[in-house]
């Protein structure tokens, strides 16, 4: 088939909501965009284990410890589903991981913030996983088959994450004065970074059009962010807490919540690597990889010997 024919064929599949599968012909840029997006998503799951892992040994009860352990283990699983999906596009696992360790590939900036108190674990589950869910539900309809299937699997597991987070905060919100303050403080610190998770405003993201045309993405940054604000602004009422935004209020006309301006300077700073924990996170990943090297080699040698 000619290149034109292949492109036409591909375009028709996208138009007709037919998923693209690994062996199908696809434009190079489609492949590259997917590799970048899926691998960054995978890295986000893996690096995302670090801020929460910080609290596994310090969780206040055995029940909370078991829950947090299960949640963090889920995130490792999410990373693996996604690395597998990414590999179907023709990049090796090692290349993908090297790109993370070299700093070439990115992960979601939210994980460059520190987890200072136990309430942060609640805020992460509720806000960070909550934001992730909104994005991931959209991605269950993404056009690349393996990515969409990984998302379906992940979405099934995510709702536990958000619920356990909210429940942590709910308990704190009914506790002592100190616990209430801790709860509010965590919400204050995590609210804005969570909003940043959805990325720059649509007006500034000149390239996202192509991803929409290819149906890799199906909603704009602003749309997703608005969905998130509307959801959280309602849920927080149950906690009796406040979102740290004086401009947050229901807009009768738009049928949405209005909210204040995000600090974009902070956003770009963290993207560029100057967030509070960027270095610490990457160092931890590299260390884990390097210290696991002898295990990888020994297992390979053992398998070789038994052939």
């Amino acid at each position: 088939m000619t290149l034109q024919g292949l492109e036409k064929n591909f375009g028709e599949k996208i138009d007709n909501e037919v998923k693209i599968e690994p062996k199908d012909w696809m434009p190079d840029a489609y492949r590259k965009t997917n590799i970048r997006q899926i691998s960054q998503h995978a890295h986000s799951e893996i690096v995302g284990m670090l801020p929460e892992g910080n609290w596994i040994s310090r969780a206040p009860t055995l029940k909370r410890k078991a829950i947090l352990l299960a949640k963090v283990q889920d995130e490792a699983g999410h990373g693996l589903y996604l690395y597998s999906a990414c590999e179907t596009l023709g990049i090796t696992r090692e290349e993908t991981i090297n790109d993370l360790h070299s700093g070439k590939a990115k992960y979601s900036s939210i994980f460059n913030y520190p987890t200072l108190t136990w309430a942060d674990i609640g805020a992460i589950g509720w806000l960070v996983d909550g934001a992730a869910i909104i994005n991931q539900v959209m991605l269950t309809r993404t056009s690349y088959g393996p990515y969409a299937r990984a998302m379906v699997r992940i979405c099934k597991e995510e709702s536990f994450h958000q619920r356990q987070g909210f429940e942590i905060l709910l308990v704190l919100s009914k506790g002592s004065k100190e616990q209430k303050e801790m709860c509010q403080d965590a919400i204050n610190r995590w609210w804005w970074p969570s909003l940043m998770m959805f990325g720059p405003k649509d007006a500034e993201s000149t390239n996202s059009d192509q991803s929409m045309k290819w149906k890799i993405k199906r909603k704009s940054n602003d749309e997703l962010r608005q969905n998130f604000v509307d959801m959280i602004a309602e849920q927080i009422k149950t906690l009796g807490m406040k979102l740290p935004d004086d401009n947050l209020k229901w807009n009768e006309e738009r049928n949405h919540y209005d909210f204040g301006e995000i600090n974009w300077e902070e956003f770009w700073n963290v993207v560029k690597g100057n967030g509070p924990c960027n270095k610490q996170r990457l160092d931890a990943r590299r260390k884990a990889w390097e210290e696991g090297e002898w295990v990888r080699e020994a297992a390979a040698a053992y398998a070789e010997k038994r052939k």
Partner: protein, 121 residues
């Protein structure tokens, strides 16, 4: 700051050139082999493909598959097959392979118009 290449800072839209950091990462060129994982979700059902993973041998592949794909009792049995052993039909052959079945609608029960009283057949 020039933001024109940035699409989105969520999963996947930070362009690689925004990176930096170290570059001398050791490359071994050797991942453990890739395995495809199939899970039987309950007795009486077929094993179904669920994804893939890397493992040094079959035993490790099964153990990893349990941790990665059955954390919530999704399975009662696991098959793993090294991916290089899977032979697949090519997407280009789709016409040749499957179109011949398309005009054989008489293979379907709905092709036959029967009187009402026996139409439950």
């Amino acid at each position: 700051m020039n933001t024109q290449f940035i699409k989105k800072n969520y999963y996947g839209d930070i362009p690689d050139e925004k990176g930096g950091g170290i570059t001398n990462v050791k490359i071994s060129g050797q991942d453990w082999p890739l395995w495809e994982v199939f899970i039987r979700s309950k007795q009486g059902l077929d094993h179904k493909h669920v994804g893939s993973l890397h493992a040094s041998d079959a035993k490790m592949a099964i153990e990893n598959a349990r941790d990665v794909y059955t954390r919530r009792m999704e399975g009662v049995s696991i098959w793993v097959v090294e991916s290089i052993n899977i032979h697949a039909s090519a997407p280009e052959e789709v016409g040749e392979l499957f179109e011949p079945a398309e005009d054989k609608i008489y293979r379907h029960p709905t092709f036959y118009n029967l009187p009402e009283e026996v139409n439950k057949m």
